[in-house]
Symmetry: C2
Subunit: 790 residues, 2 copies
């Protein structure tokens, strides 16, 4: 095993440094060394150490293990082990298990046209990049939920351990059911230093350190030292001990007569080894091994330091490569024999290429959950509650294949998905009291007040080939902006890797949205996640703004069938008028954008004005504005357009869902004013549509950072997105209304004054606002263009 470790270390150092002379058959000279030295040595020998020890137990106990590498910048370690196991050459035949292959392995690392310096989608066996720190443990827990035979070994660096998301992810053990889930074996790898600093956990008193992890609910075992022989022995016995405990816990839980078990105290390992272990003890007289100076490239500036070249050669030779590789550069048989075989190799775990294991969800027919809408606006419904009924049956239908969970920060009920509790409950492994509602050890609703943990669990669950949904208050989804970034980047890269099989999309329901945070106030009002999302590669992101329950149902069905996207759905949870019957909703969602003929009065002619809307509240206000205008100026020709799929607004050259310019012009005209009421920040619509021919006439209303605790209608008034302001925008822009404008504007001003006076007095919206109904009875049918080309 020590030879295996030396081989992995040798291959790691070689990746960081060598362009040529991979087996050191010649004297090492400057031209063998890369001109730019990029990589992270510090954490690498520890990762290699853990890897070989896991390989031993995988074989000894016939285990199913995956490796989650928190310190993902120790990429050389993962690549070295993947190559030693033969997996790398199977995935990338040009990097063969011989001398040429070693040379290719070395050169490609952190090299143009080669592979990234971090663990990345390109790395077989990985589901976790580790570039941005904090998410290793929540990914690991996500991976083992519903995978009873899987052990995720999760290495957490002591730098990463300082992050917030990691600090709370340790509590994931409160949600792990030993009966139906696998287990995470966390290895806190304390090497003591970050880039240029000691680490908190590395310097804490040992007593506090143990208390901390006992307090988190683990049984920590310390493995410590710098003498490889001693640490090998200790690590092997501690690993055996941990696996015995895991097995005992699982056996007891799974053979028990009782349905419920006590939350186990799972083992974990605290591995304390020197940073840059086995590397140069000092460089230019400065302490390097066991210090932060070994974080990246211990020996640098080779061209000006011949001594560094020879020091590098001594370092590489200290691993005795001649004993590790044969003449052809193949690892010797006794090393090869140590690795597990086939899919048992961690670098070839099918769980790390989740698409291999993905099974379609058994989806009920969403149309059966439709709200009956005899005429537009004739009934009210809570859109997300209707969605919750559909999800209840998605959950029920897939209970026996155990591949669907929903996640959220204590908001499942608040967001009106209560019907889920007819068929499942919230996962809860702590004590359950008689008065508790909908808690169970085998619940499939995952709630923790940490958006980071919800997101991390869901990502881990999806990346290992399952399905899920995340519901969140719209404003607070920004908490995971950066996690979304990393996942979107992962998906984009996977699209370019043939062996990565598609996985289920990451689906967000954002509700309790900006317009209905009238009770929580300004801090809860932020629709900017959409802006954040659309900065990412068009091929992986989708944004939907269904205006009512039936469109939300159609969108929900669509996103649950989709693959390799991040789907953002924004929808309200409050009672609201329903516009489309199921048939119309289906067609509208398929088109993604369309004229609502039942609300328009242009009857196929060129209209005087286009009134467009995206989002449930802006749709309501637009229709109410249409009502005002049609009643006051019946001769005005209005075309009403509703947008469900926001990406339809972009040119098709920019987004695969985009409309062609011709179709866009057909809808929005080339010359007529467009008054657009949008759910979020108005400039996003301009950013999507600035290339369109009629852009100069596009006027957008939306949220402009005005709000406080007030009434729902006052929220739109504060942001000039209410029916009166929208009507005024039309009056200002349609030349033929000039004769009416003084009278109309005065009417609108009076209405707004009435509004303020009423709410200041009574604290609620005027009855004429609350009770407004679309006044034109007509069948809930709508014109849809055939612009569906997704």
């Amino acid at each position: 095993m020590d030879a295996y470790w030396r081989a992995a270390n040798y291959l790691s150092v070689g990746q960081i440094y060598l362009l040529d002379n991979p087996l050191l058959k010649e004297e090492l000279v400057l031209s063998h060394i890369k001109p730019r030295l990029l990589g992270h040595w510090g954490t690498t020998p520890g990762l290699n150490f853990i890897y070989v020890h896991l390989n031993r137990v995988i074989k000894a106990y016939d285990l199913n293990v995956m490796f989650i590498c928190g310190p993902g910048h120790g990429g050389p370690a993962m690549l070295a082990n993947c190559w030693l196991e033969g997996t790398y050459s199977e995935y990338y035949p040009s990097v063969s298990q011989d001398k040429d292959g070693i040379k290719a392995l070395f050169k490609q690392f952190s090299f143009p046209g080669g592979v990234p310096s971090h663990v990345a989608p390109e790395t077989p066996g990985s589901i976790h990049e580790g570039g941005e720190l904090g998410y290793a443990l929540s990914h690991a827990y996500g991976a083992v939920f519903d995978n009873p035979d899987l052990i995720a070994c999760c290495v957490v660096g002591d730098g990463e351990a300082e992050t917030g998301p990691m600090a709370t992810a340790w509590h994931s053990n409160k949600f792990l059911n030993p009966t139906r889930d696998g287990v995470v074996l966390p290895i806190l790898h304390l090497n003591g230093y970050k880039i240029a600093n000691p680490t908190i956990l590395g310097r804490m008193h040992e007593e506090e350190l143990l208390q901390l992890f006992e307090g988190y609910g683990y049984r920590p075992y310390v493995v410590e030292g710098s003498d490889p022989a001693i640490v090998h022995t200790r690590m092997a016995s501690v690993l055996d001990q941990c696996l015995d405990e895991i097995k005992a816990i699982q056996t007891a839980a799974r053979s028990g007569d009782s349905d419920t078990v006590k939350r186990p105290t799972w083992p974990m390992i605290i591995l304390r080894t020197p940073k840059g272990w086995t590397g140069p003890a000092s460089v230019d007289g400065k302490l390097t091994e066991n210090f932060w100076r070994s974080h990246q490239v211990p020996l640098a500036n080779m061209a000006n330091n011949p001594e560094h070249v020879s020091q590098l050669e001594r370092w590489l030779k200290s691993y005795r490569p001649d004993e590790l590789f044969d003449e052809q550069g193949k690892p010797i048989a006794s090393i090869l024999a140590l690795a597990p075989q086939g899919r048992q190799r961690m670098s070839d775990s099918p769980h790390s290429n989740g698409g291999l294991l993905l099974r379609d969800l058994r989806l009920p027919d969403y149309k059966l959950y439709a709200v009956d809408v005899p005429a537009p606006g004739s009934v009210e419904a809570e859109a997300t509650r209707v969605m919750g009924r559909f999800l209840r049956d998605v959950m029920k239908n897939n209970m026996d294949q155990s591949n669907f969970r929903v996640f959220g920060p204590d908001e499942t009920s608040s967001n009106r998905w209560d019907d889920l509790f007819d068929v499942t409950a919230r996962t809860w492994m702590e004590k359950i009291l008689p008065e508790d509602t909908f808690l169970a050890q085998d619940g499939r609703v995952m709630e923790i007040l940490s958006e980071h943990t919800c997101q991390g669990w869901l990502e881990g669950y999806l990346l290992t080939g399952r399905h899920g949904f995340f519901s969140c208050y719209e404003a607070f989804i920004h908490i995971v902006d950066s996690m979304f970034n990393q996942h979107a980047k992962w998906l984009k890269t996977c699209n370019r890797i043939p062996w990565r099989r598609p996985i289920a999309s990451l689906n967000y329901l954002l509700t309790s949205h900006v317009w209905r945070q009238d009770h929580n106030g300004f801090s809860h009002q932020d629709p900017g996640f959409i802006d954040h999302v659309v900065n990412k590669k068009a091929e992986v992101i989708r944004v939907f703004l269904p205006p009512d329950a039936n469109t939300l149902l159609a969108v929900t069905d669509h996103v649950l069938r989709s693959r390799n996207y991040v789907n953002v759905i924004v929808a309200g949870k409050q009672p609201a008028p329903q516009w489309l019957n199921m048939d119309a909703a289906m067609k509208h969602c398929e088109a993604g954008i369309g004229v609502w003929e039942w609300a328009s009065n242009d009857y196929g002619d060129e209209p005087d004005v286009v009134m467009a809307c995206a989002g449930d509240v802006p749709t309501l206000e637009t229709l109410a504005a249409v009502d005002i205008l049609r009643s006051k100026v019946p001769e005005l020709k209005i075309r009403v357009i509703n947008v469900v799929n926001l990406m339809r607004l972009q040119p098709i050259s920019e987004h695969p869902n985009g409309l062609s310019d011709r179709d866009f012009d057909d809808l929005f005209t080339k010359t007529k004013p467009i008054v657009f009421a949008y759910h979020g920040y108005p400039w996003l619509i301009h950013r999507l549509a600035y290339r369109r021919s009629n852009h100069a006439n596009l006027h957008v209303r939306g949220y402009k950072e005005e709000g406080t605790t007030s009434t729902p209608f006052d929220m739109v008034v504060m942001n000039d997105t209410d029916r009166y302001h929208l009507a005024a925008d039309v009056i200002d822009r349609v030349p033929r209304l000039r004769n009416h404008s003084v009278y109309l504007k005065q009417y609108i001003r009076d209405k707004l004054i009435d509004h303020k006076q009423y709410i200041y007095k009574y604290g609620e919206d005027m009855p004429e606002i609350r009770n407004w109904q679309w006044p034109y009875p007509s069948p809930a049918v709508e014109h849809t263009d055939t612009h569906s080309d997704e």
Copy 2:
């Protein structure tokens, strides 16, 4: 004290429910009750309980205490106590300490035209909204750094305790120096439930709970119960104990002969009381007190439940208001006497209105730190290292007023601010080893690998009237997107509150930016924080992209003098050509945007093309493209514009720094093609400039989510933002180049092929790229328009 508590509880319930009949002199009827019931009762009685106990010790020990209310949605509690202390009536005379005042206090809560339902900037005594959970403790620590006499009592709800940022903020005790800093007294308030769930910390075994906080390095004291008399007694004795320990620690540290002290084990309190304590035990037969059902409004739907109205009346009367308020509605004398006086009232702490205490920084003359630039491009420098020298002396000059710190996630050295370590060190209260570099107990560089904690500390430090800087890798600043949101919203609201005095701006240096993450790869590449920031209110946000060291100096000086902004500076840390001498840099930064005449050859005429740039790497590539074009087509007239202050691109109607349309047209012309090389996502430039007359001719290049580990120049090539693509963009757009275009485009294609071949072979950029220099010797003077109107 129990009477005081009852008074606060009465006033809290009144705020949630009552429009009229504030002292219950009449029988309670429906018309006395608000039509919309908004507010959070669950946490409120506990907050009131803590508040009155703190008042006791403030008076008993003559303390300087501020209250950080993590469960900020318990707003009624803070408002009730503020009113009882008389502070509220001083700040808001219409809410007087009498019957009319009580009525006004009740009505305004969560009411249109009134005050938000959460603790907010409108609430005297607050620096923390608590709407988004996770930041209470880092705010509290930020507040007490360099405030040796201050005690920040920080209430952490058990919901908030599940968040990641909170879970790591407990480690802030490793950075608190008992000699020069004040202290945080955390009170973990376990009431057991969130919105609809039990909480993790509320249900953990007591033993694990204590281990967890001992592991974090605290000495936890448990106060538990539901019988007020018993809990009062226990709370009083525990508070006395905690304050004794705090005093003992501080006295020992401050009178010690040694410069260094052992990190103390500070006390904390775990307060376990029922959620909704003293509220309805059950409603409609369902358990309410001590359960999640008391989270918000326990009794609702009053109009349809006459029984609820009488239950509310019984609840309110259980506090015996007749014993608490006199006939005029003034609290009785014995209650008033319990509150501290003047600035000692927590609701009137000057630290909570930091602008009152703010002292200007003593800034050295930034011009003295200038890089000597005899001609544009003639020298190289690392911009952030030059900035670091300036900051070193800012630090030095303000050492004795102890009001400047810098914050960052272990990146101060990496970001080239090393010179700071000439005058200070990193704060470190754990053990310091002989080999450690630049660690000290009294260091003023705050490094923890948690962007959340850095941001929280800095916000707390600024909100209490001090100054600071946060340096961060550009991609990972997204980790605090949501915290930025909350701070920007806080600042915007403060601008509308006359008694809130301006505070120092929150300053970010974003470096290790997207274009120079060639070694870390795709996961480290994200310039989208700027997009996120510009969604917030224009009056509080500023974005600067200085192209070189001297402009960075001028911007740094500017942001350190500014107030009530969030300033985002993006600048590189790598050696790069310098363009402007100090005089030119000053003028350029003052204008924020300007023609670089030394790089242009339009000589006052209408140019054929405008080449604009923002950001250091895009500026370099633009100038290199100008070089290519001028050498190949000398007759082409090019105008080069550089943008430092990004907000100059917006219309002045949208942002106070915006250019007028006339000035914009003067710079960019009305009809000529504009090729714009931008640091970030290109569509942001369109979003800022879509209203400009020449927008149709604006062509923007920037980062479009392409990147991996490669060379610096390859990064710009992958995103079509390199000199060759920019030159090709010009060729495609200038009609008079049509004759040259075949030859020029072939030249460019060949160059790009050479580039790829070279880097794939050698792993570094071609010498002609690495060694390119601006070839036109000319004085580093530039034309600046007089568009400076900030």
